[in-house]
Subunit: 163 residues, 2 copies
């Protein structure tokens, strides 16, 4: 392969990886533009030392601000972005996001996801956004963890209160 | 006062409190629409048990994504929203935002805020958004805490890395 072809191949590879993560095993695709979504909440997990931000698409933000989240309306998508927590080098009692762990999503579609409480679950791992799960049954793991909050429409996140 | 006048007075009172927080003692006004700004980072402070989200206005988000944050460009505004951390009732190792503590802002304007490193500081306390500080000298307290990060343009926040 000559030099120009190598450069072209590298450029195409980068473009593809930047544009398209593989769909999750249950067919859910990575929501476009989720990095621009607005804040629903943030969490710190002491058991696995991770820090998280939960963002919502426009439908979810509207529902949260109106207090209409039990149930969340169809079309709501919640994005949970997870990083390993790291000590801030200049403020030793502050934990900040370190390495990116994964992005995970809950998509409300009562009809499509009737078998899992009306929510479709998906997760993409790490900077290369590898879909989580060997097959579509991975969602049983999601549902298992979310069962304690079945009565709040399967959602742990309480939207933050602001003035 | 008859019933209609009472209703009118209550409605006006709500409208005023929702619309206008008092300016900070240094003349900085509460940025409009900051609740809709996008995510820069999130922190957990173990010393005072608070959990925080840092949002940026459009100028700040663009600078962060381009890695041009030392210095941050004029026009950048960073919003730090702070809540007391509370244990999630359904996941005992998860900390979530509880009572709202304050919203604080850094506004980059090299000329206007030359005396404080190019940044204007302001903070509004609690749900009633009471401006912090007895007079304009309150900013010395802000500058004092931010001095350890003077070399990173006085900003503690490292914008999060996402795929």
């Amino acid at each position: 392969m000559n030099r120009n072809l190598i450069i072209l191949a590298l450029a195409c590879g980068s473009a593809v990886s930047a544009l398209a993560a593989e769909p999750a095993p249950n067919g859910i695709t990575l929501p476009e533009g989720y990095k621009d979504w607005r804040l629903l909440s943030t969490h710190f997990r002491t058991d696995n030392n991770t820090i998280r931000a939960v963002l919502g698409n426009d439908v979810a933000i509207k529902a949260a601000r109106e207090g209409k989240t039990n149930p969340w309306p169809d079309g709501s998508v919640l994005a949970k972005l997870v990083w390993k927590a790291a000590k801030h080098e200049k403020w030793e009692t502050a934990m900040e996001p370190g390495a990116f762990v994964h992005a995970e999503f809950m998509t409300k579609n009562t009809a499509r996801f009737a078998a899992t409480g009306g929510w479709g679950y998906a997760r993409w791992l790490g900077q290369d956004q590898k879909p989580y799960g060997k097959d579509a049954n991975f969602v049983q793991e999601c549902v298992g963890c979310h069962t304690p909050v079945k009565d709040s429409d399967w959602v742990f996140t309480h939207p933050v209160k602001l003035p």
